[in-house]
């Protein structure tokens, strides 16, 4: 047995203190200190260790899409409160807090863009908006993203980052899984490519609908991906969770994910896949 044993999987658990604020950050993987400015220029990936910090949905698009190609849609869609839901806080107040914190109306931004000139209909989930939860608005935006792919016969890219369905909108949130998946069935029939990109974390109803239905499923390294929460599984089964359970690497080993791609290489990789499946010819590199 080797003295220095490198774990096969590394679980990324981003705690509040890991989210960049202040002047510099400590990398949770290597302990290395890195300046925020450098981190930002590097898409919130620690240069040496490759640790992926969370990145906001708009910043992600800045790095992913050709400059000036972003054409946002549906930004006027806002959530309602069909159940008049209240726990210790009212849903209305929670939504107002999320909207203020993110500058978004709900947890998805969607529209058209280009990746090295290849047109895509694209949606990105924003975790900071209520844990990226899937409610009526997010479901509608994802569905419209898919329908615009169909209408314009261009590939669909959805970048997921979500804790799952939005409890506060009750059963209608569950129904968004059916709505989005039904739209994907049409896209699949029309033979238009759908690339699903999973980021940390992608769980619950999002994994159990569109996120798992990509023609190609890509994940960022170290991302937590699953259906049930780790604590729920532990409580229900009294089983010890295996090393690396529910990480992207674990799931690629077990056949769910096509490839794990570093955020800094995501744009190039999407170009390669989209040119293979959509253009069907090699795309000239910029």
């Amino acid at each position: 047995m080797p003295i220095f044993h490198r774990p096969r999987y590394s679980t990324v658990q981003v705690k509040k203190k890991d989210i960049p604020q202040g002047l510099w950050q400590k990398c949770p993987a290597s302990g290395e200190i890195i300046y925020n400015k450098e981190l930002e220029q590097n898409q919130n990936v620690v240069p040496k260790s490759g640790f992926h910090f969370p990145i906001g949905s708009r910043k992600r698009l800045d790095f992913l899409l050709d400059e000036g190609s972003w054409d946002e849609k549906d930004s006027d869609l806002k959530p309602t409160d069909p159940l008049e839901f209240k726990d210790q806080k009212s849903y209305k107040d929670r939504v107002a807090t999320y909207q203020k914190a993110t500058g978004l109306n709900d947890s998805v931004i969607d529209g058209f863009g280009k990746i090295y000139g290849i047109p895509v209909s694209i949606a990105v989930m924003e975790f900071k908006f209520g844990g990226g939860s899937l409610g009526s608005v997010a479901g509608e935006k994802i569905t419209r993203t898919i329908e615009r792919s169909l209408e314009h016969k261009i590939p669909c890219v959805i970048i997921s980052c979500s804790g799952g369905a939005r409890m506060q909108e009750g059963i209608l949130s569950l129904m968004q899984m059916a709505k989005t998946s039904a739209a994907l069935a049409k896209l699949s029939k029309a033979k238009i490519p759908f690339i699903s990109v999973l980021t940390n974390p992608t769980t619950g109803g999002v994994t159990a609908s569109y996120a798992a239905l990509g023609d190609v499923i890509i994940s960022e390294p170290g991302a937590l991906i699953g259906f049930a929460g780790r604590r729920v599984i532990k409580e229900a089964t009294n089983e010890d969770l295996p090393d690396g359970f529910q990480t992207a690497e674990f799931l690629m080993d077990r056949g769910l994910i096509d490839m794990i791609v570093d955020r800094r290489e995501m744009k190039d990789r999407l170009r390669d896949i989209l040119s293979a499946l959509y253009l069907k010819v090699q795309h000239k590199k910029a």
Partner: protein, 331 residues
């Protein structure tokens, strides 16, 4: 204790029934005529039942949906259909006994049954995994639904699950993917699908067999995005606030489900719940299934698929209620 009125809010009934039993005993042992007292208590029992059951809270409905004597899917299947022939296995991994499937006949016509099934006792529950399917259950269901599609059989699905099984193996074999694929494939299935939520409609675990053209729900069943216990654990940081969570989620509010378009019909149950008269409950369910199926069988294949897409496409509550011509965009 008599399991019949075992729930906490049924306590007044238990007291009255005890009194009634005592009176019966008294009359038998001492040959006294207490018939007027007996009928007075019987009337009071009826009245108490009406007052309890006409005003159920969300949490009380959840408890009824989980009642140990409540008829399960197979009770309905065996009472409504003939010659149910179970077909096992997903042809990939194993046979999941928490989702059953097979052919049966409804008034002489062939259908495919897909049913989530709970156990009546500990031994059965271990076999059925408490009605919590693993991925292979969903994959078996899909295999059998495709078989139905191939031979033109309508599909009747029966939902009764607390949720998909939250286990290590379940995740390792990608239960989320199994559910997602079922949802997608059901949306394009070229035969009619009628879904009946008979007990617990637990989240994605329910939806994985519930993308019907028509979705029917029993009066005391619930259909929810999350179990009240998990919702309570997340929002109240405490699993014991499930009753608060149930009412915040408005579980058991079948009128709301219908208003939102999530279900098409609410099936009335015998007073106090289906367990008080399983045959009466099965009659009502049978009647509802027949009438919805008859309507669906009048549609052409294209009409069926278009209506099903529209049904799910329109679910959601937005500030912008403009109607989208989805059929155009998709053609």
């Amino acid at each position: 204790m008599d399991m019949k009125y075992a729930l906490d809010f049924e306590k007044p009934l238990r007291g009255l029934i005890k009194q009634l039993d005592a009176l019966h005993q008294l009359s038998e042992e001492n040959h006294i005529d207490v018939s007027s007292e007996i009928s007075a208590i019987e009337a009071k029992i009826e009245q108490t039942k009406r007052s309890i059951y006409s005003n159920l809270s969300s949490w009380q409905r959840v408890q009824l949906a989980r009642h140990p004597l409540r008829p399960y899917s197979l009770d309905y299947v065996n009472s409504i259909f003939e010659d149910f022939r179970e077909m096992h296995g997903d042809r990939q991994f194993r046979d999941d006994k928490s989702i059953l499937g097979g052919t049966a006949f409804l008034d002489g016509k062939a259908v495919m049954i897909i049913a989530q099934q709970k156990g009546r006792n500990t031994k059965e529950n271990i076999l059925r995994n408490f009605g919590m399917p693993n991925p292979e259950g969903y994959r078996k269901a899909l295999r059998l639904m495709k078989l139905a599609e191939k031979f033109g059989l309508p599909i009747i699905t029966w939902v009764d699950t607390p949720g998909a099984y939250p286990g290590v193996g379940s995740e390792e074999r990608h239960v989320a993917e199994a559910i997602a694929v079922n949802i997608r494939e059901m949306s394009q299935m070229e035969v009619p699908i009628v879904t009946v939520v008979v007990g617990e409609g637990g989240s994605g675990g329910a939806l994985g067999i519930a993308v019907g053209d028509r979705v029917l729900i029993l009066e005391n069943a619930y259909y929810s995005v999350i179990s009240p216990e998990s919702c309570s654990a997340i929002l109240w940081k405490d699993r014991s606030q499930a009753s608060k969570a149930a009412s915040a989620l408005r579980l058991g509010d079948q009128a709301l489900l219908k208003h939102l378009g999530v279900v098409d019909e609410v099936i009335e149950e015998p007073l106090g719940g289906a367990q008080n008269s399983p045959s009466e409950a099965a009659n009502s369910v049978g009647k509802a299934v027949r009438s919805h199926l008859a309507e669906l069988l009048k549609l052409t294949r294209d009409q069926l698929l278009e209506k099903r897409y529209a049904r799910y496409r329109n679910l959601g509550d937005l500030n912008d209620r403009r109607v989208i011509d989805f059929s155009e965009a998709a053609s």
